[in-house]
């Protein structure tokens, strides 16, 4: 996402059909300069030395976005898809990668994941792993994070695994047909949907929420190629 303006001059960008380091290269119609999509820098042409300014955007689900912005506008979809000879060649999200190159194959492209990141680190928890374990814990840039699964709502809850300065370690305990998420330190039970202790010595206390994405692996890994993946 970039502004397409350089030195006050507006540019119209197009798809050049080229890849640089396996990523999309754009071109502007005004000067023919080639631009990398990954970092918005001019690669070749009259505007070499210039950069496009990045515009912050949020990638999330329609449901999550409309919850945050109920009055949002959205790009209209056309009728039947345009028929290009390249439709099949490029568009296979299960093998996501631009122009037929293979995407990150650690997981299937359409595997759902819970993705958590900060400036220097990114971790993906496959939904299948989360559903099986009910709670997964790891360090994100050195800080403890717990991803819990609220089975009845089919929703993850992602929290800092720290309470009042003390780290907590979470695990899942099966009680008959139910699975309880407890901390090892006090044995308190936690609501995965609210991040709140519902019984035990810490009852009533809340964990701090951590922003996350619930998306397909192909989308997450395209943005965060250095992501770690939590396995079983």
């Amino acid at each position: 996402m970039y502004t397409r303006e350089v030195n006050g001059k507006q540019l119209e960008l197009g798809v050049s059909g080229k890849l640089y380091k396996d990523a999309l290269v754009m071109f502007d119609r005004e000067t023919g300069t080639l631009w990398t999509q990954v970092d918005g820098k001019a690669l070749r042409g009259p505007l070499l030395g210039s950069s496009l300014t990045e515009v912050p955007a949020m990638q999330t689900t329609w449901k999550a976005w409309t919850k945050l912005h109920p009055d949002t506008l959205v790009l209209r979809k056309p009728g039947p898809t345009r028929g290009s000879g390249y439709d099949g060649y490029f568009r296979d999200p299960s093998k996501r990668g631009l122009f037929g190159t293979r995407g990150d194959e650690r997981l299937g492209g359409k595997d759902k994941i819970v993705g958590v990141h900060d400036a220097s680190d990114a971790v993906a928890v496959p939904q299948a792993v989360l559903e099986k374990k009910s709670v997964v814990q790891f360090l994100l840039a050195g800080k403890p994070v717990a991803v819990m699964f609220a089975r009845e709502a089919d929703t993850p809850g992602v929290y800092r695994a720290v309470l009042e300065g003390k780290a907590l370690s979470f695990h899942a305990r099966k009680l008959g047909s139910e699975t309880r998420i407890e901390d090892i330190e006090t044995g308190s039970a936690w609501s995965p949907l609210e991040g709140k202790a519902i019984s035990g010595p810490l009852a009533g206390k809340r964990l701090e929420r951590v922003p996350y994405m619930h998306s397909f692996w192909y989308a997450w890994s395209a943005y965060r190629p250095a992501t770690r993946v939590i396995s079983e």
């Binding site: 502004t3 754009m26 515009v55 999330t60 790009l75």
Partner: protein, 109 residues
């Protein structure tokens, strides 16, 4: 003498066609720029960027947008208007030339 000459011509002809001198593109063109390589896979605009995008209200879009469908969401810094672009569009067009806060932007993914 003639036989040797014809063999030579055949060999040279083969060598030239393999290198693409006969005008046919046999292999992807590669170019080193900086610390990376640029390859040409398609002609420009083989994948058409989307210009003059049209937006609809959320209520109408709810009929054909799926809950779990991925979107890129933006907030107009001037008007506070939220705008979303389905990744479906970005997969088909790669680039949407749009405007935000009075400035031209390119929505890419």
């Amino acid at each position: 003498m003639l036989k040797k000459f014809s063999i030579l011509v055949c060999v040279l002809g083969f060598a030239f066609s393999a290198a693409g001198v006969d005008g046919q593109q046999r292999q992807r063109v590669e170019e080193k720029i900086g610390d990376g390589t640029m390859v040409t896979v398609l002609a420009p605009d083989a994948i058409p960027a989307l210009n003059q995008p049209v937006f609809v209200r959320r209520q109408e879009a709810d009929k054909w947008m799926a809950d779990g469908e991925l979107v890129l969401g933006l907030l107009d810094p001037v008007t506070g208007q939220a705008k979303a672009y389905s990744l479906w569009h970005l997969e088909h067009h790669e680039i949407v030339n749009d405007r935000l806060g009075g400035h031209p932007i390119a929505v890419t993914w």
